[in-house]
């Protein structure tokens, strides 16, 4: 059990880093609280696995500190950190039975055999592996193997945290869901800090209470799934979370009007003032496809857009629109009429996010 703190942590694989791009992890501070279920979400190559390996001690960071409960553990190897890690591909000891696999970490530290038995039986029961205990691990299915590698982490009672590195990659979709629920169950039962690395937002939001979104070696936002959805901190989060991602329109103010391309946007005074005050040339307004009001007929304050095509996904459709030369996506529910040819859009003010140099700036609507 531990609280994991990352203090001005940075890591590079190069011996002579020159620019921020040379860093796999750019300088960051972060705290994983004891007992939390966290997800580390990001695209391939954003540094998620690097960060995980630094926490577990498989990698030593180039600079900064990793603290467990306030103690610096940089120099401690993984075996001394008391951490469990589950890898993308199930790691099992082929020649051993499931029982011996689960007992392995305990036997390595010379735990009395009676205690080993007790723990193995307990963990096997939680993971529903009791029936397989006598089988050779080699002959298990992928999801059973992954449960065994997870079990080897759980079997140690004093484990500080369990780290998951995309553990469901090789699991069949219908089993994924089952295993994810199992993970949640284990989390609630043992109250262990869990950090779950994934590039799948659905996986992240069903597992974690709080998600850290990583982008180019940085945590760009750390929040609940709802926060990430409603108030993305960074354009990347807006784009990466949600399906489809957030719409972004590059805007400027001209003669007191907010212009996106050659079209004036109908937005409130608050948004207008905020855009006008921005001192950057990189100003964007973001709005989720779910929040765009799409009307098939002309409405007051409606911006006229061109409908390119619509994609019917059953309970809802995605409408592909062009507004002032900028492509937009909007999501409409099945009971709403799908516009063809032209559509009139409205952006509710409170749903608009202002992004200056890619970072969110709060708008004062007063």
């Amino acid at each position: 059990m531990a609280e994991i703190t990352l203090k001005s942590l940075a890591h590079t694989y190069l011996s002579d880093p020159r620019s921020p791009e040379d860093y796999a992890i750019r300088e960051m501070d972060h705290v994983w609280h004891q007992g939390g279920a966290y997800a580390l979400l990001g695209p391939s190559g954003c540094g998620k696995s690097t960060l995980l390996n630094i926490i577990s001690g498989l990698l030593e960071p180039s600079s900064g500190e990793v603290l467990f409960d306030g103690e610096v553990v940089n120099a401690l190897p993984p075996e001394a950190r008391n951490i469990a890690q589950v890898f993308q591909f199930p790691v099992i000891y082929d020649t051993m039975t499931v029982y011996d696999n689960l007992a392995f970490p305990l036997r390595n530290v010379k735990t009395p055999e009676a205690r080993v038995h007790e723990r193995v039986m307990e963990v096997a029961e939680v993971l529903e592996l009791t029936a397989q205990l006598k089988r050779k691990a080699k002959n298990l299915t992928a999801d059973e193997k992954q449960k065994v590698s997870m079990g080897r982490g759980l079997v140690r009672e004093d484990v500080s945290a369990i780290l998951f590195d995309e553990p469901l990659t090789v699991i069949d979709p219908q089993l994924k869901w089952k295993l994810r629920r199992k993970l949640k169950e284990i989390h609630q039962r043992f109250e262990i800090t869990m950090v779950y690395v994934t590039h799948d937002q659905l996986e992240a939001s069903t597992f974690a209470d709080k998600i850290a979104v990583m982008y180019e070696g940085q945590v760009v936002q750390f929040g609940t799934p709802r926060e990430l959805f409603e108030r993305p901190n960074h354009t990347f989060v807006g784009y990466f979370i949600g399906s489809p991602g957030m719409n972004f329109l590059e805007v400027v103010t001209q003669d007191g009007r907010v212009m996106a391309g050659d079209t004036e946007l109908a937005v409130g005074q608050g948004v207008h003032d905020a855009v006008a005050q921005a001192r950057s040339t990189n100003v964007k307004l973001g709005i989720r496809p779910e929040f765009i009001e799409v009307h098939a007929e002309a409405v007051e304050d409606g911006m006229q857009a061109h409908v390119d095509h619509a994609q019917d996904l059953g309970t809802y459709s995605i409408v592909y629109l062009t507004l002032g030369g900028i492509p937009l996506k909007a999501r409409i529910e099945e009971d709403q009429p799908t516009p063809t040819g032209k559509a009139w859009l409205r952006f509710p003010d409170e749903r608009i996010g202002l992004y200056i140099d890619e970072f969110r700036v709060e708008i004062d609507h007063e």
């Binding site: 790691v91 020649t95 970490p105 089988r135 050779k136 982490g153």
Partner: protein, 293 residues
């Protein structure tokens, strides 16, 4: 799914059958032919049935050669397999060192049998050979032409030098194919070095080791040129292995009948041992599956 039964499909194996017939069965048949006859000249021959086989099986010199052969093969296997694994484990994994070591290790494998024999013949000479001379200078009366112990030790050393690289290379490639995650998981599980070897590396090496042991057994059981050049089978007959006995009989004495019978026995021994070994290994893996059911 409905399985279609059509026995005409057997014709499809005909080309393979022909190929095997011409490459193996027909040449072997000529040996079988000689083994059951006593041939005097092109026109005079007698059918002898199993007589040659009985003679050969009861020949004390040959029985001794068979035992010697097994002793030799098992000894070199017992040394080369662990040594090969050990070398593979300490070989550098990357960088120019890896390439350099790989080339150095492979070198003995590229040298022809006869040349290996000659190299060691010179190497072990008491007057000009580095090893022979050094051992004598150190006060040990090393002499492979008079001491059977010296001769045996030298032949085994030579075979180990020549063929351990094969096991090492096979194991090296086997070790390279183990994903890093296994080692990382082992560290997190606090496995000792021995446990990593016993439960990760060795199981992953099983397949290459089966191949390595089979190859080495067959090779060593057929060894001929190296001891022939080095010791000529001596002193006495202490290093006369099966191939050499056979050659002496077939070429030296022109005893075609007995040597044909002996060839077949020789061939069957190799076949039997490799088959038993292979089946035993395969059954070990099968048992797992039965256990599972």
């Amino acid at each position: 799914m409905n399985k279609v039964y059509n026995n005409r499909a057997w014709w499809l194996i005909l080309p393979m059958l022909l190929l095997v017939a011409f490459s193996a069965v027909i040449p072997l048949m000529t040996v079988v032919n000689y083994s059951v006859q006593d041939v005097f000249d092109a026109n005079t021959r007698f059918f002898t049935g199993t007589e040659w086989f009985e003679v050969m099986l009861n020949d004390p010199a040959l029985q001794a050669a068979v035992l010697r052969q097994f002793a030799f093969s098992l000894t070199v296997l017992a040394i080369e397999v662990p040594l090969g694994i050990g070398i593979a484990l300490i070989m550098p994994k990357k960088g120019w060192q890896a390439s350099a070591v790989l080339i150095l290790v492979t070198m003995p494998l590229l040298i022809p049998w006869n040349v290996v024999g000659s190299i060691w013949q010179i190497f072990t000479r008491g007057d000009i050979g580095l090893m022979g001379w050094s051992l004598r200078e150190l006060g040990y009366g090393y002499n492979i032409t008079s001491s059977p112990v010296d001769a045996w030790a030298t032949i085994i050393l030579m075979d180990v030098w020549h063929w351990t690289p094969l096991i090492a290379l096979l194991c090296f490639s086997g070790l390279r194919s183990i994903p890093d995650a296994y080692y990382q998981a082992a560290r997190i599980d606090r496995a000792s070095k021995w446990a990593v070897f016993r439960y990760i590396q060795l199981p992953k090496l099983t397949n290459v080791l089966v191949i390595g042991v089979l190859l080495r057994f067959m090779h060593s059981f057929m060894i001929y040129a190296e001891p022939f050049v080095l010791t000529g089978g001596g002193p006495g007959s202490s290093t006369t292995f099966l191939s050499q006995s056979l050659t002496t009989m077939a070429i030296g004495q022109q005893d075609l009948g007995p040597s044909a019978a002996f060839s077949l026995i020789y061939f069957l021994i190799i076949l039997l041992v490799t088959w038993v070994f292979y089946t035993a290994i395969m059954n070990m893996q099968k048992d797992d599956k039965i256990q599972e059911a």
